[in-house]
Symmetry: C2
Subunit: 197 residues, 2 copies
Amino acid sequence: MARKRSLDEGPELRSAILATASTLFYEHGYAATSIRDLAEAVGISSSTMYHHFKNKQDVLHAIILTFMQDFNDAIVPVLRDPSRPPAERLSEAARRHIEISDDRRPELLTGNPFRNALGPDQLRQTIALQRSYHSAVRDTIAAGCADGSFITDNVTLATMAVLDMLNGVREWFHKDGPLTREEIIAHYQQMIAKLLR
Amino acid sequence: MARKRSLDEGPELRSAILATASTLFYEHGYAATSIRDLAEAVGISSSTMYHHFKNKQDVLHAIILTFMQDFNDAIVPVLRDPSRPPAERLSEAARRHIEISDDRRPELLTGNPFRNALGPDQLRQTIALQRSYHSAVRDTIAAGCADGSFITDNVTLATMAVLDMLNGVREWFHKDGPLTREEIIAHYQQMIAKLLR
């Protein structure tokens, strides 16, 4: 049996709970996983678990929020960097989007279908983060149109098309498939460039 | 209280059950809807319900299968029509993909997140239909590359990009948004043409 950890392992324990939870939610489903299952898998008591999270919804919210915050922190500054041309910023953002979505697949797929398990305030927070990413992509495409490096009839639709293309990759990419991740990134960077030409 | 229908209303009753079920699953979620809720909403007894479907999973499977079969029947023949140029076929397919996904949103969204509620044989059937659609799109893009009307470095990735773009629309399109469905279709047809140029 796993040893019970003590309460003082604060932030590390919190991270360990989130990592275990995203794996369990991903593998067995959110509905099928109880707080007791989580506590057992982490090796803590249910009461220590409740010291960190009010309920299972709170755990889900923390997983989604942590993922989206990290995602935005890694990509939005690239898109908002005025020292680089818009096409280069968008290309680098596409790379990071595919890489992070692949590296952190359990967290991402946990968040996706179960977003309607969140409370209204929790949902508002995640939507705000998503909007801030979408705006950064849209503003980059608009900047490229303004300086003549991109051409599109509708910046908003081009933004949605680019984001949907990139989001799609995580659904079908397998590391044992015929193309490496690096090859897929290069093709997607090129397709995005064509779409905006 | 709704009148109890008689067993002899065979195919019509089956369609009515599927239509009601897709609305209830869409609005309240698959897990939260019971066979009893379904029977009550249709206005039949639970035993009449069980005469048509073995269980709730069977209802879900019928919804997904009917939708995918109709979707394929409406689009695959367009893509496989040798009398029209590939670019025209793909453009018409993009229109129908967006239209059907929008017209039949409850069925489509029911099928999407709950696909892992299906049994292995049921899943195999739906995957076979999805593959036959994907192949028709891929073959059309390959035909366009062969006759010089399309250019792409990787037909499979271009296929996935086009499908993911088109599938994305149903997630964010609202009929009260700034653009009509007709305008969105025209923009998407144009973006797909650019992507393959």
